[in-house]
Amino acid sequence: MIISIASGKGGTGKTTVATNLAVSVSGPVQLLDCDVEEPNAHLFLRPSIQETKTVNTPIPEIDLDKCTHCKKCAEICRFRAIAVLGDTVLTFPELCHSCGGCLAVCPEGAITEKGRELGVLEAGAMNGVSFVHGRLRVGEAMSPPLIRAVRDRTWADGLTLIDAPPGTSCPVIAAMKDTDFVLLVTEPTPFGLHDLKLAVEAVKILDIPMGLVINRADVGDDHVREYAHAEGLPILMEIPYDRQIAESYSRGEMFALALPEWKARFRELIEKIETMTGKGVGAQ
């Protein structure tokens, strides 16, 4: 079973929920941190990294000896990543989406592909939790291919948790797509509610069952609960605002390890999701 943990608004507690879930469940579990712009799960899990791999995306390389400056490559490129000016061919690798159109259209076979570095993938483990994350190279704009490279490590069976980035655009879709359940972490504030509604719409488009975790549940107002009720969204867990939890978070600690009652609650959360999806952690 694959559970993605998403939110819309940033800073609501996605990583807190993902890491505490990972250390609470019994049996093998895998955590994929797909917030490749700002990966944080490793700061809490502190896994020993056993593998580091550069992730590239293909971009065109033009053989000027073969090129006849016919401009077909520039014409097919919707992202304006190739320009032909007289007998010069310019490529703009940061604009390239790696669609391969130029390569396919070139009548001279003058285009091959080389890699542009998007970032690195790191994999490791900590106390039975298998861990993979991506780190986008700072200055790189294109995160979805790196997210997909992390997602490619998804186990064939067993429990996989995906820590998604904030927002509702392409990186979030890349992280949530084809998962079995989306756990939306929100807070009961106007910002939390506004962004939760956007996230719910995104999950509906992807047609994935979902449920809520309300973090800092006792601050703000009741509108998130009213919305959840009206939408028929199950509230699967509430975590109160607790200065001690906030301080332990600031130090990079997982509160489920210090407070056994919370470990039990995170296990119950997984059981509720199993019941809702009809999938055990061992099934896909």
């Binding site: 608004k9 200055g139 506004h194 719409e201 995104a202 600031s250």
Partner: protein
């Protein structure tokens, strides 16, 4: 004209609450919400929308079943596996590259331009505001951010406003890159948590990459005093000014619930007092004082 962009790296550190508080303190500014993906500034500003414009993104492939002979060329060439075995394009998966359109031997694939959001020019009690809403599950957020900032500059010029306050998105990816280029300065709102520090460091690196001056503001500073000291040390070592510490204050949430900026809600509490000092420090930073 000067543009101050508020960033953080990590989400939820207080970018929008601080942007709104600064708007209360600035005497005449234009507000720009560059977090087009999950825009929240309007919840505190209650903007009066004066002009609404559709945002045209890229194209999306649509197969005409009348002309399609199911030869499979498009499926074979699509690198995003966005075309199903039934020859229906998954709109969410489609990258908008148009390769299938060009290679379809039957010319059976249309490529209509998609409206993937809207942008707005509004009035608020603090001045004009330019903001946007990217459609759910859409691409091109960077393009929309660039458009919103360009419109903000144009409007500020028309209205004779000297300062643009831009609320930025979280992360360091596409929309953030589109938010920082050409800005006068960036304020990074950092919280004293290990993730806040980690993400601040990446946001600083990004600003360096694009040669934009950075200052650091520590929010929720009393949550972890050791980590706050670490942030100050990192800023000092990087030659970056620290414009102040704002203590954790539940008044931020209470103000938000009422749709007010913190200073409208409670100007004399601990956070309010510190925010005034932070704003004074920002205005005294050389990048903000320089003529431009």
């Amino acid at each position: 004209m000067k543009e101050l962009v508020i960033l953080s790296g990590k989400g939820g550190t207080g970018k929008t609450s601080l942007t709104a508080a600064f708007a209360t303190l600035a005497t005449g500014c234009l507000l720009c919400d560059a977090d087009v993906d999950a825009a929240d500034l309007h919840l505190l500003m209650q903007p009066d929308i004066r002009k609404r414009t559709d945002f045209q993104g890229g194209g999306v492939a649509v197969i005409d079943p009348q002309r399609c002979t199911e030869c499979g060329t498009c499926i074979e060439m699509c690198r995003w596996a966005a075309i199903g075995p039934d020859f229906i394009v998954d709109e969410i998966g489609c990258e908008g590259c148009g390769v299938c359109v060009d290679f379809c031997p039957e010319q059976a694939i249309d490529f209509p331009v998609k409206t993937c959001g809207q942008w707005f020019i509004s009035d608020t009690r603090f001045g004009p505001m330019v903001h946007a809403r990217l459609g759910i599950a859409e691409e091109n957020s960077g393009k929309l951010v660039a458009l919103v900032r360009q419109q903000a500059r144009q409007l500020a010029e028309e209205r004779g406003l000297d300062l643009i306050l831009t609320d930025g998105p979280p992360g360091v990816g596409c929309p953030v890159i589109a938010s920082v280029g050409g800005a006068t300065s960036v304020v990074i709102v950092a919280e004293p948590t290990i993730s806040g520090i980690h993400d601040m460091a990446r946001a600083i690196e990004l600003c360096r990459h694009f040669n934009v001056p950075v200052m650091v503001c520590i929010n929720k500073s009393d949550l972890n005093l050791d980590n706050s000291a670490t942030i100050e040390r990192m800023a000092r070592e990087g030659g970056l000014p620290v414009v102040g510490r704002v203590p954790f204050d539940q008044a931020f949430t209470r103000a938000m619930v009422q749709g007010k900026t913190l200073l409208e809600y409670d100007g004399t509490g601990p956070a309010g007092v510190h925010l005034r000092q932070v704003w004074e420090s920002i205005l005294n930073i050389s990048a903000m004082r320089a003529e431009k």
